[in-house]
């Protein structure tokens, strides 16, 4: 996936002929990107492992209590048996290296709680999560771009109104919003099922729940830039050339205003994944969010790290894509890379 991202970035690199032979530059760029991607993944795994190990709470006691539905203090004999069964009696550093070694061989291990291979759990839950987060992201853009075009850089009231709506929506708690949407559109109007599953009709309300506050955030970011850009000389010059107001806004100003919003989208992906937990709970929807929270609280190392690796990989790819999008939106950025 990383390589594909690089390939997409290439046309921009070719527009300005570099001093050195192209192939060398290309190989070096790929090598640097791949190496930094691996570094990010390794860092994520290591930090997660350290944090999980440092978190208070004895793993063997958790296993015993979770498997029996109890919350009691366990005896040394019981704890020793569990530790030896899972190999947790070995030093933490040994556990760390053996984990990293098995990941390098492509084995993400087995979740002690779900008793299934981590890769199988992720494969099953990734679809619903990515569908939800991506549709929320797209929806957020679909809501915020027209809103910015309509209200930003206008005279007093319209501008204030537009920005107030954004501030309010950005602050809406997802849990509350989800319940309201559920009650209005599923219970009162009956347009959608209350518990929807992962198909289209089940994804609409959860996606809106995540998208509305995010649209507020993206709107705020683009609006500031929009207001700045619309006062620039090039806008005045476009107007003097006789370009229509809409033309100016869409072709010239919006392009400048998009950059902060795009940057924010990379961050938003992480925020959507964490917001997904609450939304999954309200709409009874499967996904990685709920699984991750449960895995962290149960100190299910293998499952947590598997999900962390996946999310980190998604981040790496998304940030590569964002680099590419920057270059498309603002060719100057492409040139300097």
């Amino acid at each position: 996936m990383t390589a594909a991202g690089i390939a997409a970035a290439l046309p921009d690199a070719t527009e300005t002929p570099p001093a050195r032979p192209q192939v060398t530059v290309l190989l070096r760029t790929i090598a640097v990107k791949v190496a930094s991607a691996f570094f990010v993944l390794w860092g994520a795994v290591t930090v997660t492992f350290i944090v999980l190990s440092a978190l208070p709470g004895d793993r063997a006691t958790i296993v015993l209590n979770v498997q029996s539905g109890q919350t009691t203090v366990r005896t040394a004999t019981e704890i020793a048996a569990v530790n030896s069964q899972y190999g947790w009696d070995k030093p933490v550093i040994v556990q760390y290296f053996s984990y990293v070694w098995s990941v390098l061989r492509g084995d993400l291990g087995t979740s002690w709680e779900l008793r299934r291979p981590v890769s199988a759990i992720i494969a099953e839950q990734f679809g619903p999560t990515i569908t939800l987060t991506l549709s929320a992201l797209v929806l957020a853009w679909l809501i915020s771009v027209p809103w910015t075009l309509l209200t930003a850089g206008r005279a007093g009231r319209t501008k204030t109104f537009g920005s107030t709506v954004e501030t309010v929506t950005a602050g809406l708690p997802q849990y509350w919003l989800g319940i309201i949407l559920l009650i209005v559109f599923a219970v009162t109007l009956g347009w959608f099922p209350v518990i929807g599953g992962t198909d289209f009709s089940g994804t609409v309300l959860p996606a809106f729940t995540l998208a509305i506050p995010l649209a507020g955030f993206i709107g705020q970011a683009t609006r500031t830039e929009f207001d700045r850009a619309i006062r620039q000389p090039f806008v005045l010059s476009a107007r003097t050339r006789g370009m229509s107001e809409t033309g100016v806004r869409v072709r010239h100003v919006l392009r400048h205003a998009l950059i902060p919003g795009i940057t924010l989208s990379g961050w938003a992906l992480g925020s959507l994944l964490s917001g997904a937990v609450l939304v999954e709970s309200v709409f009874a929807r499967p996904g990685l969010g709920a699984i991750l929270v449960k895995a962290v609280s149960d100190k299910d190392f293998e499952l947590v790290m598997g999900i962390v690796i996946l999310i980190s990989a998604v981040y790496v790819v998304v940030n590569l894509l964002i680099d590419v999008i920057y270059a498309i939106v603002d060719p100057r950025l492409g040139d300097t890379q």
Partner: protein
């Protein structure tokens, strides 16, 4: 370059329009005849449960809910007596430590393996190994006597063994599946002889059960024998109570678990409600009698007198969970003693007891003695153990005891802390709060047995340690005469109430709401009130 942007924006707007149109279209056709799982609605029971366990069977009560659908047990419990299920008859030996069961003939697991004595022996091994609290049943193993008679061995006489075996945790699985299938497979798709088989488990969403068309082993207290009436059972998981309730009111589900308690009155009026009080002991206060202020009986009694328990339960739970003053045994268990009138709400009495105990009121309203304030630490498991309503009830307690000079600190534990057994050591917790589901009166042995110094009993949250009383508990359990046994157990409950070692607050209930007109739903009577769907007829449901 300009071209790209030009093309993008109108495309974006078009896409938005398409999305909106799609939404409207969807609104028009939402009244479909298929369930989310793609099965025919007229043949599918949709039930919405709360928590999703990691495995279909095991030692957690959430697993018993599911195992009950797929496995049959040896016997079923019918209010006050055992009735035949996979076993047609049973006999206890003279020393009361062996129970011999004769098995129903012609029963097959859904993988074709026949049910016989060897299959039961294999399952007993499985329980002893995997049900971590099995030792409290005193069941140690089994021997096949003939092809279809099997003897279960106990380490102690246990007249309640039949009650325990009728409970969903002791369902019988196919020995072939246990031995040949992977752990993961047995977890998600175990094989039993019950009314349903697992067709598909979508983690985080639902389990779709399919009817076992060859089912011929319903318990004697079922409403009909033979296969289930409905073809599918769609078992959804929704952690949020409002979501579950909405699924019922919109008709998406016919049956739901625990509605929000503010809808309980509405549910009673417009739906069928089932309210099963679990066995064991209820949501009770366990006073730390080993360390801290509660080592003094007067302080314990003052605490209870300071709280209007009946009124709080009524106000918070609105009838969905009743008040129960017994801190030792549930009303569902045999030999339950009603002590609801002990320690009535009496703040004046509470203040007097604290005065007598030497706790003097300070300037800030908090009492103190020998320079130490009357601070009570109550770590509690918010979420899986104590519901939102339970937390509200504890906050009401906090306000009431403050009036007589207690400073009650409610310390919510994270799930990690809770399951890691933290804050339960005698020097970290002055007051415990929680329940224990168990079908037999030997719950006293589970919660009051001190264990040994090297291996203390983690279930003993009061840290009670009195060899003389422990001997009385053991004697009550071993007593052969039923009348004297009941007497001994009642005396013990009176003792723990009088001494204010554990005091009850509200009952732990399994509440189920079903659509009006839905016929045939019932709750298993073992100790958990597990829902039974094989007798449900969908035709009348509104």
């Amino acid at each position: 370059m300009n071209y790209r942007i030009k093309a993008t924006v109108p495309a974006t707007l078009t896409l938005a329009a398409v999305t909106l149109a799609g939404t409207a279209l969807l609104a028009a056709c939402s009244s479909s005849t298929a369930t989310e799982a793609g099965t025919d609605k007229s043949q599918t029971i949709t039930y919405v449960h709360e928590q999703e366990p990691p495995c279909l069977w095991g030692a957690w009560v959430q697993q018993a809910y599911l195992s009950r659908q797929v496995f049959d047990s040896l016997i079923s419990w019918d209010n006050d007596k055992p009735v035949p299920w996979l076993a047609t008859s049973w006999k206890t030996s003279a020393d009361r430590k062996n129970v011999t069961f004769t098995l129903k003939e012609g029963v097959q697991f859904t993988d074709g393996t026949p049910l016989n004595a060897d299959a039961v022996v294999r399952n007993v091994e499985n329980w002893v190994k995997n049900l971590s609290w099995n030792r409290f049943s005193y069941l140690t193993g089994a021997t096949a006597e003939s092809a279809n008679t099997v003897t279960l061995h106990l380490s102690e006489p246990n007249p309640e063994i039949l009650r325990i075996l009728s409970n969903g945790h002791y369902g019988i699985q196919s020995p072939t599946a246990l031995d040949k299938n992977s752990t993961a497979r047995n977890c998600q798709y175990p094989v039993g002889s019950g009314p349903w088989t697992v067709k598909k488990w979508t983690q985080g969403q639902e389990i779709l059960f399919q009817r076992n068309d060859k089912y011929n082993s319903a318990p004697a207290n079922a409403k009909h024998s033979g296969p289930a009436y409905a073809k599918y059972l769609e078992w959804k998981f929704a952690p949020d109570a409002t979501t579950r309730w909405s699924a019922l009111t919109t008709g998406q589900a016919q049956v739901i678990y625990n509605p929000p308690s503010n809808q309980w009155a509405n549910a009673q009026k417009n739906y069928q409600v089932y309210n099963y009080i679990t066995g064991g002991r209820q949501q009770v206060f366990s006073f730390n009698v080993a360390q801290g202020p509660f080592t003094d009986i007067k302080v314990r009694q003052a605490f209870v007198h300071a709280v209007d328990r009946k009124q709080i339960v009524k106000a918070v739970f609105k009838g969905s969970a009743p008040f129960d003053g017994n801190g030792t045994l549930s009303p569902t268990n045999p030999f339950y003693l009603n002590v609801n009138d002990a320690y009535p709400y009496d703040p004046a009495k509470a203040a007097q007891l604290l005065d007598e105990a030497g706790w003097k009121t300070g300037a800030d309203g908090i009492r103190s003695k020998d320079g130490k304030q009357l601070v009570i630490r109550l770590p509690y498991g918010a979420g899986p153990i104590i519901s939102q309503d339970g937390t509200a009830a504890l906050q009401a307690v906090q306000q009431q005891v403050a009036k007589v000079g207690f400073k009650l600190q409610l310390i919510p534990l994270t799930l990690t802390q809770l399951f890691a057994g933290q804050s339960q050591a005698p020097d970290q917790e002055d007051l415990g709060f929680g329940y224990w589901v168990w079908p037999a009166p030997n719950i006293l042995d589970i919660v009051y047995n001190a264990g040994t110094t090297a291996e203390p009993n983690g279930n003993n949250t009061t840290h009670f340690n009195n060899p003389e009383v422990q001997a009385r508990i053991t004697a009550a359990q071993r007593e052969a005469d039923p009348v004297r046994r009941a007497q001994r157990y009642k005396e013990l409950q009176q003792y723990f109430t009088d001494q204010a070692i554990a005091i009850g607050f509200y009952d732990f209930t399994n509440n189920v709401v079903a659509a009006k007109g839905l016929k045939g739903f019932w709750q298993d009577q073992g100790s958990n009130g597990l829902p039974v769907f094989s007798d449900v007829e969908l035709s009348g449901a509104k």
